[in-house]
């Protein structure tokens, strides 16, 4: 083949420059374990330009200390792409991205599932770049009675093979040694291509742009494009469309269906190769341990018990265990605020630092424990193989609204936080289905709404039993989930109409999850969360601080409530009052709603300021604890003493929180309209809670949706439809309730 040699594919260049090596493989083959074992904490996580697939690179050192860069490609089954993840793997391997084309590729294959795993490897042979086959999980294969002849595989495949048990570190050194070789030769074999296709592919390869490193591979990909792929080609590279269509027409006229023929030829080659390389000892069809676990876990009765058990444990940990670190974080930020207050002379700057910056950052960081616990469980479920079973169990339910099993995990995660939920939607192949999942994910009630629910319930029924309160709380969760499903169904029927997606889901064997991998993922995800969410909320809390602070009253004797009423924020509250009046809210609640646009939990703190309850160290962006509903109805007198508790220091900051809510509750109960009727009737409370269930009030989520969809269109649409939904539902509830005499 006549490769046009390009400057950025320095195949001949040896150890002089830093070697770029890509690591590719099917999902669930242990690719990440190998990547993590080689690079450890020397990893960098970024994004590929234009898409939201994570770009993970890491450095490691060869056997002679030479630095090398390892690029972890997303797991993929084929170069013929079906998802954004796979597109990235393809683009990197073909040198289509802004990063240098890798000089070599490590293809990780699961020895216990060799045939299917070798399909991608066979396809990558066509690239004709140096390849090392990492034959992972040979221990599992041996347990199943499968022995793989390494020498024979090297001979048949034409590349170096390294048998490994990556989870135990076995084979890592050998892999390193292989990658440190002075010269990594390109493979001397490629899978046979049926003659008619070979001829067309060779001809087509010559017509490709000269900067494409593997023209034959590219040509094969062109010839196996399906309708949507051809449409995309017409948009991006119309020049090559005509010769492709002509070649396809000639092949079809000759009775050759390129895709089926090519895939079958590859599998046939792999099948023959395996018959010479794989030696099966003992019975093939006996049940493996994994099969036996599945007998229970996907059983029609025990399967649900296991499923509900897993979910219950996960949410129990998110909502209760997380309380302790959350309280420490709140205490820590409270202490920090006190210190800042002591150090910085009173004035705007002090107020900005304590009320704006520290409280704003604290408001985000406080959710970190819950998010970490969520990621821990998601990692555990994913790496053990249970996630695929959950999708398998739930697919029927999801398909009733037109989605599929893979949407289940993103929606479930959104109960903990919509941001990881939305990021988890990346595994969904169909773009429209992914969008639907993203659009409805924020309707699942996240912990940031809890303080609002808890406050509203406390105002609505100060003396009710804990069970009654929990019941109302639960109904808010149900309302969010039901609405999410309903909206998904509507979107699938209208705006994002598409065929019911096909489900083709691998059920990988169960495995013992590697805590190191999960730990690394938690580490890196929490960093992403803090950066993305933190920057947005931080800037917004500063803006909010300014809105409620300025313009300052001329008369220093003006009470705080009056000052707020006259501030820009207060003016805004008055301005939107006509819009929210029909929902039963006054301008003060309006300020709370405006403040909540950054983050919902801000509501309680803002209300505290509006009702003139707090001194300046209680910031608008105050983070209420997201977890347990605090139901004890404390006597009002005790709440009045709250101010004294403030000086008591960090140890009592939790008590302070309790008191803050009680103070706010009492102030709300006492709040009257001009005509003397109470503002917070039970009806208003319900209306407000429903508003918080349905409204899009999380700037961090909007920012993430912007990133994930790569345009402002969908995040704006999301804000729009959720606002309409929230306003509409609250309107109906308030007005209908009034008609019914509540």
């Amino acid at each position: 083949m006549d490769h046009p040699q390009v400057s950025e594919t320095p195949r001949a260049v040896a150890a002089s420059s830093v070697r770029h090596i890509a690591i590719a493989g099917n999902p669930n083959c242990g690719k990440s374990t190998i990547f993590n074992a080689l690079t450890g904490l020397r990893q960098k996580v970024g994004n590929y330009p234009g898409v939201t697939v994570e770009r993970k690179t890491g450095r490691f050192f060869g056997t002679h200390g030479e630095p090398m860069v390892l690029v972890d490609l997303p797991g993929s089954y084929s170069l013929q792409v079906h998802s954004a993840d796979e597109a990235v793997a393809r683009d990197v391997l073909l040198g289509r991205t802004d990063m240098p084309r890798p000089e070599a590729v490590v293809v990780v294959v699961d020895a216990s599932n060799l045939e299917r795993n070798l399909y991608l490897a066979a396809q990558l042979l066509d690239l004709q770049i140096p390849m090392v086959l990492a034959l992972n999980m040979v221990d599992v294969a041996e347990q199943n009675g499968t022995r793989i002849d390494k020498a024979a595989l090297e001979r048949e495949f034409g590349v170096p093979v390294v048998p490994m048990v990556a989870s135990k570190g076995i084979g890592l050194l050998e892999l390193k040694q292989t990658l440190s070789r002075e010269v990594l030769p390109a493979p001397d074999k490629r899978p046979p291509v049926p003659e008619a296709i070979e001829k067309e592919a060779q001809a087509l390869a010559k017509r490709l742009r000269a900067d494409q490193g593997s023209p034959f591979s590219e040509a094969l990909l062109l010839l196996t494009l399906q309708e949507s792929g051809l449409e995309e080609l017409a948009r991006h590279e119309p020049a090559i469309l005509t010769p492709t269509m002509e070649a396809l027409a000639r092949l079809r006229a000759a009775g050759v269906e390129p895709l089926a023929t090519l895939v079958e030829a590859r599998y046939e080659w792999i099948g023959e190769l395996c018959s010479r390389v794989v030696h099966q000892e003992g019975e093939v069809s006996k049940l493996t341990l994994s099969d036996r676990i599945d007998l229970i876990v996907t059983h029609r009765v025990w399967g649900w018990v296991a499923f509900l058990g897993v979910m219950a444990i996960m949410f129990f940990c998110i909502f209760t265990v997380a309380q302790y670190p959350m309280e420490w974080i709140e205490g820590g930020f409270g202490w920090l605020g006190e210190q800042a207050k002591a150090l910085i002379p009173e004035g705007h700057f002090q107020s900005l630092v304590t009320d704006g910056v520290i409280a704003g950052v604290g408001g985000v960081v406080v959710f970190l424990p819950q998010i970490l616990i969520l990621y821990f469980f998601l990692g555990l479920l994913e790496d053990s193989g249970y996630m695929a079973r959950a999708a398998f169990m739930m697919d029927r339910v999801m398909s009733s609204v037109g989605l599929h099993g893979k949407s289940f995990i993103p929606l479930l995660s959104s109960f903990a936080c919509a941001i990881p939920g939305i990021m988890a939607s990346r595994t969904i192949e169909n773009r429209k289905d992914r969008l639907v999942t993203i659009l409805v994910a924020p309707l699942m009630s996240c912990p940031a709404r809890l303080p609002v629910y808890a406050l509203m319930i406390a105002v609505m029924m100060p003396v009710a039993s804990a069970a009654a309160k929990a019941g109302i709380m639960l109904s808010m969760y149900v309302l969010g989930a039901v609405t999410a499903f309903l909206m998904a169904w509507i979107f699938k029927k209208t705006l994002l109409k598409s065929e019911k997606p096909m489900l083709l889901l691998e059920l990988p064997p169960y495995r013992m999850p590697a805590l190191k991998s999960i730990g690394l993922r938690m580490w890196e995800r929490s960093g992403i969360f803090l950066r993305r969410a933190g920057t947005v909320i931080l800037s917004f809390s500063v803006i909010l601080w300014a809105l409620l602070k300025f313009p300052e009253p001329v008369n220093p004797e003006t009470s705080k409530a009056d000052a707020i009423s006259q501030s820009y924020g207060g003016q805004l509250g008055h301005f939107i009052e006509p819009v929210i009046r029909p929902l039963g809210y006054d301008w003060k609640i309006g300020i709370g709603i405006i403040g909540s646009f950054a983050a919902r939990e801000v509501f309680v703190g803002t209300m505290a300021i509006v009702y003139n309850l707090e001194s300046e160290d209680e910031a608008p962006a105050k983070a209420e604890d997201g977890g347990k509903p605090k139901d004890e109805a404390k006597p009002a007198a005790e709440a009045k003493d709250g101010a004294e508790a403030k000086a008591a220091g960090e140890g009592e900051s939790v008590d302070k929180e309790e008191k803050e809510k009680d103070e706010v509750r009492d102030a709300m109960l006492a709040e009257k309209h001009a005509d003397g009727t109470p503002v917070f009737t039970p009806l208003v409370c319900v209306s407000l809670m429903v508003y918080y269930v349905l409204a899009m009030q999380c700037l961090a989520t909007v920012a993430v949706v912007r990133r994930e969809t790569n345009s402002w269109r969908w995040p704006l649409f999301m804000v729009g439809y959720m606002s309409v939904l929230a306003w509409g539902a609250s309107f109906v509830i308030y007005q209908a309730g009034r008609l019914l005499g509540f």
Binding site: R116, Q226, A260, E264, M393, R396
Partner: protein, 77 residues
Amino acid sequence: MSAELLSQLAPGDKARIAGFSLPGESLSRLFEMGLTTGAAVEVVRFAPLGDPIDIKVRGYHLSLRKREAAGIQIERI
């Protein structure tokens, strides 16, 4: 002659794939996951709610819905 379909098999049944009647986009993924003409498949179980199906092909477990399985013709073995 109307061939039997993958969706008509019961757990434990084994068969060989004889042909497809599915749109091209779905086919490409099915092929690449190893469901090619001639490949041996075994129905392992149905999900607790009746759909999807868990099948064994080329030594691994794959799950697909009855709707797609109904587009795959098979011969029992």
